[in-house]
């Protein structure tokens, strides 16, 4: 036995563990990625191949129209057609001023431009918690609506007055969109609280208002604003069309906001209300300090979605004759020189809306992640 034990193996004995081998070629790098994501079985490989072929066909057949055969210089559709067969982007270049400002007087266009840049200064501290000197800048945000109104309308401080009927283009979209968003949030919060109220009259009225606004299309409300509102006011009252639209858009979107926030309020555990009552807070203190902050946090995705919807719905104002970018585009189409260039014009306007709405939805996702403090 002892001899057996002393008999030592003379083989190779590793002193340190070897470094791990890289995974097989088929599961790493580009090849591995392709295998796992595009070719992991026969059906999927076929699907990938068919899609690539279709994409290639689509791109090769449409890139000519969009880019290679497109014309960017010219003063009418006929001129464009003589140069090349693709899209006639010249119409955008010729009308870009109108697309931006509508019929705002040319000499005064610095005013909406300043408003536009100050808009970012005003919403920056609201949206970004790390904004420099946030507390002081919030005062500017609160003051901004007045400043923008003065700048755009004029009539004081030696600024020549500009009629709202001349407002148009992307400027109009921003005015209607931003005003609607800013004004509808507080109103929506009040309506949501009203719908949850213990007072029967308040609750019934809130429900009736919300259901009425959500039950009809916005376009009918805009019709009411443009054709019928004068009947409801004392004879001889003049009421600016843009202001009527702003009011209607605000009321409409407040009803949707109210429903989103109600969802948030209902999601708060009853214990929160009870605890607030137990430490002696009254209704408004409970709402302001305990329930509303939590409810708003839960409802952020819904609120931003409602805002995006409102922003897109501003295009409906063309039906009652306001000239937002879509209205400017339609006016250009009615011009004999540009007749029939609907694809170019609508695609351009679509690009504008896509960029702004996509940015908003990205912001919402970012905010959601930042505020997700529990349930990790």
């Amino acid at each position: 036995m002892a001899s057996l034990r002393s008999q030592s193996h003379k083989g190779y004995v590793a002193k340190a563990s070897l470094p791990a081998l890289p995974p097989p070629l088929g599961t790493r790098g580009l090849v591995g990625w392709l295998r796992q994501n595009l070719f992991y079985n026969i059906t999927n490989s076929l699907m990938t191949i068919v899609i690539v072929l279709l994409l290639w066909l689509l791109i090769s057949s449409s890139s000519g129209w969009f880019v290679f055969d497109a014309v960017v210089q010219g003063s009418s559709k006929q001129e464009c057609l003589q140069i090349d067969s693709g899209a006639c982007w010249a119409v955008i270049g010729k009308r870009i001023d109108q697309f931006m400002f509508g019929f705002y007087p040319e000499a005064e266009r610095w005013r909406p431009l300043i408003c536009f840049f100050l808009l970012f200064v005003a919403i920056g501290p609201l949206l970004l918690p790390s904004f420099p000197a946030r507390r002081q800048m919030l005062w500017f945000s609160a003051f901004y609506p007045v400043l923008a109104g003065v700048l755009l309308l004029g009539g004081v401080f030696g600024l020549p007055p500009v009629k709202t009927a001349l407002f148009g283009g992307f400027m109009l979209t921003l005015i209607v969109g931003v005003t609607g968003i800013v004004a509808s949030l507080p109103l929506g919060i009040l309506l949501a609280l009203g719908r949850q109220s213990r007072l029967l009259a308040v609750r019934t009225l809130s429900i009736m208002f919300i259901e009425l606004m959500r039950g009809v299309p916005l376009i009918t409300l805009l019709f009411v604003a443009s054709t019928m509102l004068n009947y409801f006011l004392p004879p001889g009252t003049h009421f600016d069309l843009l202001l009527r639209v702003l009011i209607m858009v605000t009321l409409f979107s407040a009803a949707y906001i109210a429903e989103v926030i109600r969802g948030g309020l209902q999601a708060i555990p009853a214990g929160q209300y009870e605890a607030a009552q137990a430490i002696g807070l009254d209704y408004w203190q409970t709402t302001r300090l305990i329930t509303l902050p939590q409810a708003l946090k839960i409802s952020i995705p819904g609120i931003v979605n409602t805002f995006i919807g409102l922003y897109k719905d501003t295009t409906l104002v063309i039906v009652i004759g306001l000239l937002d970018p879509l209205g400017i585009g339609r006016a250009a189409l009615a011009d004999a020189n540009w007749n029939g260039l609907s694809n170019e014009i609508y695609l351009f306007v679509a690009l504008f809306f896509f960029v702004s709405c996509f940015a908003m939805s990205r912001y919402s996702i970012w905010l959601e992640k930042r505020l997700a403090t529990e349930h990790r």
Binding site: N37, L38, Y40, N44, M47, T48, I51, V52, R198, L199, L200, A201, V202, L205, E211, L212, R214, G215, V216, P217, I219, T220, F223, V224, T227, M228, N230, Y231, F232, L233, P234, P235, I308, K312, D313, T315, L316, I318, V319, L326, R330, G340, L341, S342, N343, Y346, L347, V349, A350, F353, F354, C357, F358, S361
Partner: protein
């Protein structure tokens, strides 16, 4: 003073006081508005009434589902418009649901290309206003599609031109009742068989191939009746005669553009809803189902979908409602829906803004209240019973 103070301090009496103030305020506002309306109407010599509905409308409508001429009444025009709204809504809902479910599943596909394509489609579609979609597609059909003589065609059956889409039209002949009978019988059988299969599964756990059997019955029985009755349905195909197509059904460009645009727009939202619903089903449910040896189709049909459905249906219904309300944008391209007939031409011809708009808004309100009533009923039926 202290007496008033004590009323205000008491929660119950304060509530009553606040409600009285609110009601008085609302009442004052409404009486002010209505008195303004009355004095405005009096100074304009306008009446209020719905007798204009029985006057001849005097305008033509290019797409009518029921008998209508320009000598019909405004009421008939409104009904034609309402039916056109329902038509767009019905076709749009079906198309949007189909496309939306495909998108939702594609978004979750393991294939990177498929899921990214679905993502790009959804983002590009839902971030552009629906009105823009409608105008763009209308423009594409009217400005870019060929003249009837060079129509795009699929197998000489469907023709797409700048005057709309031409499809074959089924014409019923004598004996059609037998086909209908076959169809109804197949429907009854399907429902009965599904119930029987469910009861049997509950008792014994044995699953019958319900879907396949019912599909076969629903196709075979009417088909059998069709041949038994001597083929009582013939198709009228569109054919080019001179400058335009004859025969078949012409779907005007407005209808095609509106339905298509609403469908692809709403489908993007439905896709996201479906995806969220499937993701929301707990991972453990799928794992447990796989662990007890269910087939992939059973995992989907018996475990995942019934739970996802509870999450999907409420937002899905509100998308259907949105689609129906968005169909009122038809007025921008001249499709004659309820808003364009009653709230458009009838309003302009009779000058009855108040009555026509009240009717239009009332109709939309009724539709949406009905749909939300359904949704509430469904929600209470499928709600999980918690503690």
């Amino acid at each position: 003073m202290s007496y008033l103070n004590s009323i205000w301090r008491n929660e119950q009496s304060r509530g009553i006081l606040i409600q009285i103030f609110v009601l008085a305020g609302v009442f004052a506002l409404f009486s002010w508005l209505i008195s303004n309306v009355i004095s405005n109407f009096a100074s304009l010599n306008k009446g209020f009434g719905f007798d204009f509905l029985l006057l001849p409308a005097g305008y033509d409508i290019n797409q009518t589902l029921i008998e209508y001429t320009n000598r019909s009444t405004h009421l008939q025009a409104a009904v034609v418009g309402l039916l056109n709204t329902f038509l767009v809504a019905a076709v749009g809902v079906v198309l949007a649901t189909l496309l939306g479910f495909i998108l939702g599943v594609a978004r979750l596909s393991r294939n990177w290309l498929v899921s990214k394509l679905a993502y790009i489609y959804i983002e590009f579609t839902r971030n552009v206003p629906v009105l823009l979609h409608i105008l763009l597609w209308h423009g594409i059909i009217v400005n870019t599609m060929p003249h009837p003589r060079n129509a795009l065609t699929i197998g000489e059956v469907l023709f797409l031109t700048n005057r709309g889409l031409y499809v074959p039209k089924p014409i019923a002949e004598t004996g059609i009742w037998l086909v209908w009978l076959g169809f109804v019988a197949a429907l009854f059988f399907s429902v009965g068989f599904a119930r029987y299969a469910r009861a049997r599964q509950h008792q014994s756990g044995v699953q019958l191939p319900v879907f396949r059997v019912n599909l076969a019955i629903c196709i075979l029985l009417p088909l059998l009746a069709f041949f038994a009755a001597g083929q009582p349905i013939s198709l009228s195909f569109p054919a080019l005669k001179g400058f335009n197509f004859r025969g078949g059904i012409q779907l005007p460009p407005e209808f095609v553009a509106l339905t298509f645009a609403l469908s692809i727009y709403t489908a993007a939202f439905i896709g996201e809803i479906v995806r969220a619903g499937i993701i929301a089903v707990d991972k453990g449910q799928r794992e447990a189902a796989e662990a007890i040896g269910l087939r992939p189709s059973q995992v989907m049909n018996e475990v995942i979908l019934p739970q996802a459905r509870r999450i999907i249906i409420p937002p899905l219904t509100s998308q259907y409602l949105n689609l129906t309300k968005n169909s009122s944008l038809a007025i921008a391209i001249g499709y004659m829906d309820i808003l364009a007939t009653l709230g458009g031409i009838t309003l302009n011809q009779t000058g009855r803004e108040m009555e026509t708009m009240l009717m239009v808004m009332g109709i939309y309100l009724i539709i949406s209240l009905l749909i939300s009533a359904f949704m509430n009923w469904y929600n209470s039926r499928v709600r999980l019973v918690g503690r």
